[in-house]
Symmetry: C2
């Protein structure tokens, strides 16, 4: 029996626990009416709370959640680990896809707290995602049209908490932000200019 | 003192041990004249032997090696782990980049046993690689021009052992080959058609 079963329990504290719980252990935490009542905005907030977890670890605040279109269950989630794992390209999307494993992504929707980079956008259409929901096109954008051209449905559903969190991070750590997008060489080049 | 120190020791058996040794432990295995004498074709063969390791594990035979342009030392290597890690996108290139960590890839060359997919090609130019050497444009090709357009030097250096190995794999496991490129949904669609 899960702890979170009622619709009325949906709140930021509950969604934060969902964000932190390993995906395969989620049935111990949530189920019933709670699980079936989660909205698009709730899934996006879980992605934002994963981003917050990463920020608290000293990393880049970007998170993502993958949801089964039919059952609405979370099948993968994760956050950027550039700093935490010394990982040159693990963004929110790649982290969530890695967590999901070898499933049919055409039956799923990915919620990302920040507009996808070129690599992640390419991965999203190459793995056949049916839909991508983007939570922040204020701090970054540009690949939404690429995804649409490749047949992926795109929805913009901005989350103000996530937008403020990313803007704060970028102001605090501009080099880390740039490295996460274009690598160490881009940071060096920006210093030369 | 390393075991492999002389140029005369360069042979497939020695390169196979190099392929299998964890990157950070390579100084226990190789050095001196052996290390400084490795040619482009030798680095490519190491990538092919990493691909062979993956094949022997039941995985996709694709490997990659990243070499520092100045010192010619191996700074990252790896192979596809679709099967071994239930990993939906870990190709030879992503595996080697992950292994290298947060370094300046503009000072390095990546040797890949098979022509890069769309995702890996995008990652290669987004991380600013100076050069990519491709060992097989017979079984797959197409993104060499994209890399060149983005300023990455591309060299084709086909390895007949790697080409034969990949052709054998594709004949034995066509679905695994397709999933590795375009995901589970592409395999399902290919069965419907």
């Amino acid at each position: 029996m899960a702890i979170l079963t009622k619709r009325a329990q949906i709140c930021d504290e509950a969604l934060e626990a969902v964000a932190h719980m390993p995906t395969r252990s989620l049935p111990t935490l949530m189920g019933g009416e709670f699980g079936s009542s989660l909205s698009d905005a709730d899934f996006m907030r879980i992605a934002v709370l994963l981003a917050q977890k990463s920020y608290q670890e000293g990393g880049c605040p970007i998170g993502a959640v993958i949801v089964d279109n039919l059952t609405k269950s979370i099948v993968g989630k994760g956050h950027n680990t550039l700093v935490q794992e010394d990982h040159p390209y693990n963004h929110g999307e790649t982290s969530a896809i890695r967590d999901a494993g070898r499933i049919d992504f055409s039956k799923t929707t990915l919620y990302t707290s920040l507009s996808p980079c070129d690599v992640c956008a390419t991965l999203l259409y190459m793995r056949g995602f049916s839909k991508v929901v983007v939570g922040d096109v204020t701090n970054a954008s540009g690949n939404e049209s690429l995804l649409q051209e490749k047949g992926v449905e795109v929805e913009i559903l901005e989350d103000s908490v996530g937008i403020a969190q990313y803007a704060k991070f970028r102001e605090e750590k501009p080099d880390q932000d740039l490295e996460d997008w274009q690598g160490v060489s881009a940071v060096k080049n920006s210093r030369v200019l």
